[in-house]
Each structure stands twice: as C-alpha cells, then as structure tokens.
Symmetry: C2
Subunit: 290 residues, 2 copies
C-alpha cells in the first residue's frame, strides 16, 4: 500500500512467446521494468486487480514507456467495473499516444487471451471490487511423426491434428488421437491480491505452478485486522495455496508495519511448505514438465 | 522524461522552518522521499512546472503518503492553467483524503507564500505552458538590543521594529533604522525546467543561491534539437546561470540519450564554473551569509 525503500508497490509481469501481460502497476513499475531490463514494447495487456492508487498509479508511466519504445499496436487494459473512468482520468496526462488503449471492464469468470496465454478472473472479497487472475499456457499433446508418415498424412495437416482437429484425408476422417499422445499439463499461475481467502479463489488457482498472493498481515494475531481490512495473513495465504494444490507460493504486498516479513514464514510453512517471500525484482522461469 | 535505473524523474523538495514545498513530482517521488528519510507530513505546497506526466505522475502517491503520515492540514497545489482538471482526473484514484487539496492555477509573476518562504513564478518557453519558480527566504536585519535598551523600548516592540514597522513609544515614532542594521541578504533558489533559456528566466533567477536547471541535451551540436523540443543544452543552462549571477547551478533532467552527462560538463564550465551534475537524492543546505 505504501512503498518503502527497496520494497515498492505491486506489479507482476508475465511474458511468453513474445507477448507480455502486466498484473497491476503501482507507482514505479516502469522503473522496476527498466531495472529488470525486460523488453518493454511487448506488453500487450495490463490487468488491474482493483482501482486503488497503489495498484494503478504507475499506469501512465507504463503507457509512456510503451510509447517511447516505439509501440504502435493497441494495448488492452482489463479491470473491474469503473476502470474506464479511472483510465480516462489518468489519460488527461497522456491524451495522445501512438497506439490505441482499449479498456475492458471484466465480469467474474470472463475469459480472454493474450497471444498463447489464456486468462480468466474471479472476484475476490475486498473493500472495493477486486479481481484475482489466472493465466494458463496450454501445452499441445505430443505428436507422433512416425505414425503420421505411416498414415501418409501430408505435413500441412499435422498442426491441425496436434491442435485437436479431425481432418479429412484419403477418403476418411483422421482423428487427432491417431497421431497425438494424451493431453499434457501446461503452465499456469494465479495473481491474488487485496482480498480475503475464499473457495472461489482456491478454485481459480487450482493446481497452478505459482500463486502470487497478498499477505498484508503477518502474525496469526492480526487475523482480526485482516478480516476488517479484507486482506490475508501469512497463514491464510498458505492455506489457500494448499487448498488449491498449487506448486509454489510467493508472498507479497506486506504491510509497511512488517519490516521483517521473514519472522512470519513459519506460520505459512505450517500450512504450505513451498512458500517463499517475494522481493523487488524477483523472477522465475516456469517450464513444461519433462 | 523517461526514468532510468538510478536516474528517476523530476522533483525538488525544499524545506524551511517546519514547512515544505515540492517542485514537480514525477513518478516515484514518494519512494525517493522515503529513501531520503525526510519528514513527509510537512509538505504544505506542491508547485507543478507543467502538466506533462513525467512531472505530475507521482502526485497521487504524494497525496497518499501525506494522508498516511496523519496530515490533516490543507495542501496547496500550484501550477499552470489546466492544473485543476488534471488534479481532478488524478483524484479519481483518491476521492477521499483526510485533508483538503486546494488547487491554484497561477499567472506569471503571481506571488504566494508557504510559511516564511516567498514564491513567485515566470513563464518559460516550452511546448506547453510551463512555469519556472523562485523561492526566497528573507532575512531580517540585525537588531541592536543594546541600543533598544538605551531607548528604553519594551521587548514586546522589538519584533515589530525588526520586521520594519515604525512603533509609537514614549510620545514619539521610533523608526526601525534606529535599532536595526542595514538589510541583509536572504536565501533564494530557482527551479527551471522544460524551457528554452530567456531573459525573463535570468531575471527570475537573479542572484539566487542555487538554480536547478533542465539540461535535456548535452553537446552544443544538439542546440537545434533543444530549440525544436524547447529544452536547453548544458551550455545554455550555464549561460543562464551566469546571466542571472547565480551562485551555483545544478544540472538535471538529462535525456535518456545521455548515459554519461559528465562528458558535457566542460561546455557548461566554459560559461559558468559553479556548475555540478545533479543526481538522485542530491541535497544541500543553504545558509545565511556570516
């Protein structure tokens, strides 16, 4: 909520196959992206969890950064109802940009995609409407080129079959299962911030590789304040990750009243051992299973 | 215009006698203020040079920072015409604050004060209306208590005399010059950004202790681009400081195309030797003459 030196505001950047998605963009996000030395131009979508300044204040900087990088392709901004008005207010400072900014106010469970990434959202439980997001990168099943050659299938049809389409060849319908293996697990992550835990959030985050989760409060004693201000404690976030059967949990969004969040890790580990503390500039590469 | 890692956007904070004034507040200013460990609550006024995002984008963060610091006293925001609408747009993200935000669109040469600080502004020459500011901290003349006692003046009247008022005492008018010394030089600084140099700016900055000045462009060869985009080169800023007979010059607002601004210092020193490069977190204490 309040940036500290070395502990800035919320933003998560995801990139895959030349496409990028930003989740929230607190003040300073463009600076952090520069420090991370990421390509800026490929931010195709910005997903806002909720319309509080600490999650939106860096939007105008990001739009200018994209403009300065030479981007001309449209940028999609997704978020809860009210988004359009807020972006309009911000854009008084950037009325002219070399690309279109398309705002879309999302309904819970709405689906959209950015490149190969498939996204959806669920409503959390905060003081204002707040969306948690899930990203999936599906993985195509293994294709058996030997079998395809045996069937005499031309290479032009291989991609369609791998994508799950039945194709007509040699006077008959060739089904995908004749040349592709069983479904394969893709990659996924969930971004959950400024909300109480809920079954809907656990369901959104089912079996994701990574959950990035708000833990404004540390000690189990702070549970009452977490309820009151609609945030989570370390234990609650870890329990959410356990319930979702996620693979990993990153904790973030610590209250400025928690100068040493590591003191509370034990309370998270009791629920979910694959929990680590987030820090500015933290990054990971998610890879398909072997 | 674009923040780099370790070289953020424009902001200058001035404090005196418990009062604070911020000149511009680019994105990240609240973070820089925290890193500087300054008192946040005492920012009584924010003076915006012009309504470009790189000079205003951190405003909402500053307002939240002030709110979180417990401030309840009104905050004045000064700037060029158009300010009110821009602040209104920003405040969609902060509709409720524990203090009043009073916006005032300034005319050139308008005067206002913040505590003991006296401020004025002059219009620069930029792509949009841009104001340069001057701050003066006047110094009261030396008071001669021995002489005051000889005249039998009660202590209650001393302050008025030192402030330049004539007082009635013992059946006659006692003039300030009877008990105070000659006028004394105060302290002053000028904040000049995003503008071409001009005689009006040199006049605004006359004999200031410090000019903080935009130098977007480095080499004298870039003079044409400086003219086109309405900024200054190192040489032009130094010449402005010379013309103003300023004491010191800090250069700032380097273009991202100048990774090594020190390469151009020679061209500034040729005009004004008391020139240094600004850097993030730079600070100085100005003191009255001995």
């Amino acid at each position: 909520m309040m940036p500290l030196a070395g502990r800035w505001l919320s933003s998560l950047a995801v990139r895959s196959g030349g496409h990028g998605v930003l989740f929230d963009c607190g003040e300073g996000t463009q600076i952090a992206l520069r420090e991370a030395n990421w390509g800026f131009r490929a931010i195709d979508a910005i997903c806002i969890s909720h319309l509080h300044a600490d999650h939106v204040g860096g939007l105008i900087g990001i739009l200018f950064m994209l403009a300065n990088s030479g981007r001309e392709e449209a940028v999609d901004v997704y978020g809860p109802p009210g988004l359009v008005e807020i972006v309009k207010g911000q854009r008084l400072l950037a009325p002219i940009l070399p690309f279109e900014v398309r705002c879309q106010e999302l309904q819970p469970d709405e689906r959209f995609s950015v490149g190969d990434l498939q996204l959806t959202c669920t409503q959390g439980e905060h003081l204002v409407t707040c969306l948690a997001y899930r990203v999936d990168l599906p993985r195509r099943p293994r294709f058996d080129p030997e079998r395809a050659r045996q069937l005499g299938l031309p290479v032009e049809l291989w991609g369609k079959l791998q994508d799950g389409e039945t194709v007509a060849w040699d006077g008959r319908a060739v089904k995908p299962e004749e040349v592709v293996g069983p479904p394969r697990r893709g990659l996924s992550l969930a971004y959950v911030t400024d909300t109480r835990p809920s079954d809907a959030l656990a369901s959104l985050a089912t079996e994701v590789d990574l959950v990035v989760c708000d833990v404004t409060f540390g000690a189990p004693d702070d549970a009452a304040r977490a309820v009151e201000t609609k945030h989570m404690t370390f234990a609650e976030a870890a329990e959410l990750a356990r319930q979702a059967q996620a693979k990993r949990l990153w904790l973030t969004h610590f209250s400025p009243a928690l100068p040493h969040p590591e003191e509370y890790l034990d309370s998270a580990w009791a629920h979910f051992p694959y929990t680590v503390l987030g820090h500015d500039g933290m990054r990971a590469t998610l890879r398909f299973d072997e």
